[in-house]
Amino acid sequence: MAAPSSVGSFPSPYEIETPPGCEGWEEMYPYYARFDEERRDADEQRFWFWNSMHFPVPMPAFDAICVDSPYQAIGNWQNRVFAVPPAMGIDWRCINGYIYISGNPVLDPAKIGERAGYFQARAGYYYANWDELYGKWREKMDALIVELGELKVPPLDEYEPDAVAFEDQETSYCAVIQAYRHALRLLDLMWQHHFEFLLLGYGAYMTFAELCKANLPDIPDQHIAQMVAGLDVLLFRPDAELRRLARLAIETGVDGAFVEGRSPEEIDAELTQSDAGRAWLAELESVKEPWFHMATGDGLYHTYTSWLDDPRIPYASLIGHIGALKAGEDIERPSDHIAATREKLATEYAALLGDDARTGFEELLALSRTVFPYVEEHKFICDYWFLTEWWNKIREFGDVFVAHGFFEDRDDIFQLTRLEVYEALDELALTWATGGPARGPRYWPPIVARRKEILERLGEWTPPPAVGAVPEEMLDPALIMLWGVTTQRVHAWAREQEGSGSELTGTAASPGVVEGVARVVRTVGEIGDVRDGEILVCSITSPAWAPIFSKIRAAVTDIGGVMSHAAIVCREYDLPAVVGTGRATSAIKTGQRIRVDGTAGTVAILE
């Protein structure tokens, strides 16, 4: 009996082949993340989509902790705390290093009713006390970031410090193992906090959006977003600081140091030679904390470091801003205009509604504006600030391994799973203590080398947007709210899977029509390749890609809804954007001419 070659219109997850040279990729991921034969009957009947929003490239073994830990957290809040009536948590599987996710629905009406009772009481408490709870949340996160900063990773030197002998200090080997446990726990706590408000925040916003669409069927999505979005958005502060520094450089006459093509070190070297330059550098230093904790990507990979780690990104922005200012351009975020538009839209739409609808509109808009600071701020605080610091903390363990010959490079630690690191740390503690020969220095380097090679090859493979069964209807509020994966979107993916597809459809995220040359960018490392006037095609962007947005004419993404970062930033920069096309990065090649219609939500491949 032959198994069907595909289920519905998506490929079966069991039919996908391993790219040549990538055999054995499975060892990098937990046993439970595979599409295994034991669960075949169930898994083949489920709908799985590639979470390219958070995992656009193959996962390094260690980084898979940023799949488990957030999905533990989101499942916990959604399923065990708030008990969202129709949906439990999100499962994940890995295909060729790429992460596919699927929701667990609640189908029993009695159970849904039971959960509704929990949800109303618990979610109601959060909504009713939002500002107070969110204030506490900010305190928790601040404390967590301090705790992470204070976490010491002790070196394993030849002799224990005097304090161990004379002051009863904990031994270094115990301390380093404990520090590792502590680091893992801090990550779990961060993700726990991250998801505490997320669903409820997006849920309030989505409800407002639905009310708008029910009463104003033609309202553009971006108008809904514009009515809700905050004015003083944390995410835009880092770039605002760079614009201020750019003005300062011109005012104090040090702008000559910012020459296109110079490295940050070269620029700094010139600046240190004058009083004005040194004053400017002092000013730069003063904004680094916290604004340079901006990440160079969406934060879920160790490779997305912060501006502190990689100053090329902010310096490229500075060069761009200074050039634009000298060319007489206005580089300020038009915050007055944004504020005026926000109020104009809210007032005039309200005036168009009947009395009943207007009351709901005004209440839900107020609620959406209450929850939105969290929606906008958690990204900077959790995903950028905490996470970039956390990867650096793990690098400190990498240093300990390098010092004892286990790895050549501190970043090699990310090629081990978190449990393998634990095991290697145990061996290191043992052999450091005993003085006997360690196996690690010979055991791990070939594994690290092979995994790096596999990841590189997997990076050249393009995963299908979805696998498994095509669902009749998407009911999971989290998948709809957070990923924009609606019934309509899934069915469009399924249709496009069959068609030749010179036209892609997605969400109209920022209005306008532009034709131009596509630039497909898969990782943040490639953003330097983007040329002026190209159209960015990517899985997902983050505002940390700021330098790109002053160059490009439009953006197209694989995944994301109208509140995704590409959508928000494109509206800020007045660029057309189509998000959530499912397959832009696989269907479009760099150099092709495409037409992006950010009003209709379509992308046409012209040649």
Partner: protein
């Protein structure tokens, strides 16, 4: 003095004059009062029609013909219509009415500084342009009419259209007796583009949108459904064009080169598939839509024209008769709506 017994300038009319001048004339008067750009003109009262029938002694003949016919018998309707129309066409327009119309026309000519300005002569029926009974399309319009005598002829043709087979059938079914008709005479706009707009999206019911249909030339092509017009949906609030479909517009109506009447000609190839409105023109239409809607306090279906060389004019407005109501059910509270989004049973 009976100097203005049967006519009035459009600007003098208000909705209360609908009984005397018909719906179209009184609506145009209201539009002018609302500060909306309407081509100038005058209206002829239903009393003129009655005077015409009386003076020509047609009353008995019309009553006899209509009582003889049966609305379900197409042949009898056709025969009645033919007999009445013929009799009316051969009956003279009363002299005092002819003098009065000529004087109004001369005033118009003087106002625009053109000797024989082209005008549109349109029927302005009682009950027309009302929300309840849309007679739209059952009466005639005559475009690019020039000279007082031709205006009088066109006016009589409008009256004749009151006895077209569909019109008399319609009235017979409604048991509406004693028909009468006003006539509106309006300076012609040499339209480069014309069309209709709705002050809401009549399909979705969205009140924040203006729906615009537009095509090249005089309005006949769009109103008569002879072209697939360009189709725009524009936000009232931001003026953004939310949806735009540009179609190939094959034909347009333009003034006949001979100076009288409008003719249907093919649209030159290079203009067919070009959008006939740009952002500025759409913005001006949204402005007008807002003014008309505010003035009447209800959604309106507006005929408009943009003159060659610029200038936007409204030539007709009537309440939108069938607006789709958005299917939204208002939640009992914002929190109930949020709960429902998370799948909490709405009945719970």
């Amino acid at each position: 003095m009976s100097a203005a017994a049967h006519t009035a300038r459009l600007a003098e009319l208000r909705s209360a004059d609908a009984r005397a001048y018909g719906g179209k004339g009184s609506t145009l008067g209201e539009l002018i009062a609302g500060g909306i750009p309407v081509p100038p003109g005058f209206a002829v009262s239903t009393s003129a029609f009655r005077a015409f029938v009386e003076e020509a002694g047609l009353g008995g003949m019309i009553a006899a013909e209509t009582s003889r016919m049966s609305p379900d018998d197409v042949d009898s309707v056709g025969a009645a219509s033919h007999a009445i129309s013929q009799a009316m066409r051969f009956a003279p327009v009363p002299d005092d009415l002819r003098v009065e119309v000529s004087r109004r026309y001369a005033e118009l000519a003087e106002a625009v500084g053109v000797e024989e300005p082209p005008v549109a002569v349109r029927s302005s029926a009682l009950g027309e342009d009302s929300q309840d009974a849309t007679y739209a399309g059952q009466q005639e319009s005559y475009l690019w009419v020039r000279g007082a005598d031709h205006v009088c002829d066109a006016m009589r043709d409008c009256w004749v259209s009151l006895y077209s087979p569909p019109a008399i059938t319609y009235r017979a079914r409604l048991r509406a007796d004693d028909p009468a008709m006003g006539v509106a005479v309006q300076l012609m706009v040499d339209a480069e583009v014309s069309g209709v707009l709705f002050t809401c999206n009549p399909v979705s019911g969205d009140p924040s949108m203006v729906a615009v249909n537009a095509s090249w030339g005089l309005g006949l092509a769009v109103v008569g459904g002879e072209v697939t017009p360009d189709d725009f949906l524009v936000s009232k609030i931001t003026r953004e064009v939310v949806r735009e479909h540009v179609h190939a517009k094959e034909v347009e109506y333009v003034p006949d080169e001979a100076g009288r009447g409008a003719v249907r000609v093919p649209v030159p190839e290079e203009r067919r598939s070009v959008a006939c409105l740009d952002a500025d023109a759409l913005g001006a239409l949204v402005d007008v839509a807002g003014t008309v809607e505010r003035y009447f306090g209800s959604h309106q279906d507006v005929e408009w024209a943009i003159a060659r060389g610029g200038g936007l004019f409204v030539v007709q407005s009537r309440p939108v008769t069938a607006v789709h109501k958005p299917a939204a059910s208002a939640p009992t509270s914002a929190m109930a709506a949020v709960m429902s989004a998370f799948g909490v049973d709405k009945k719970a």
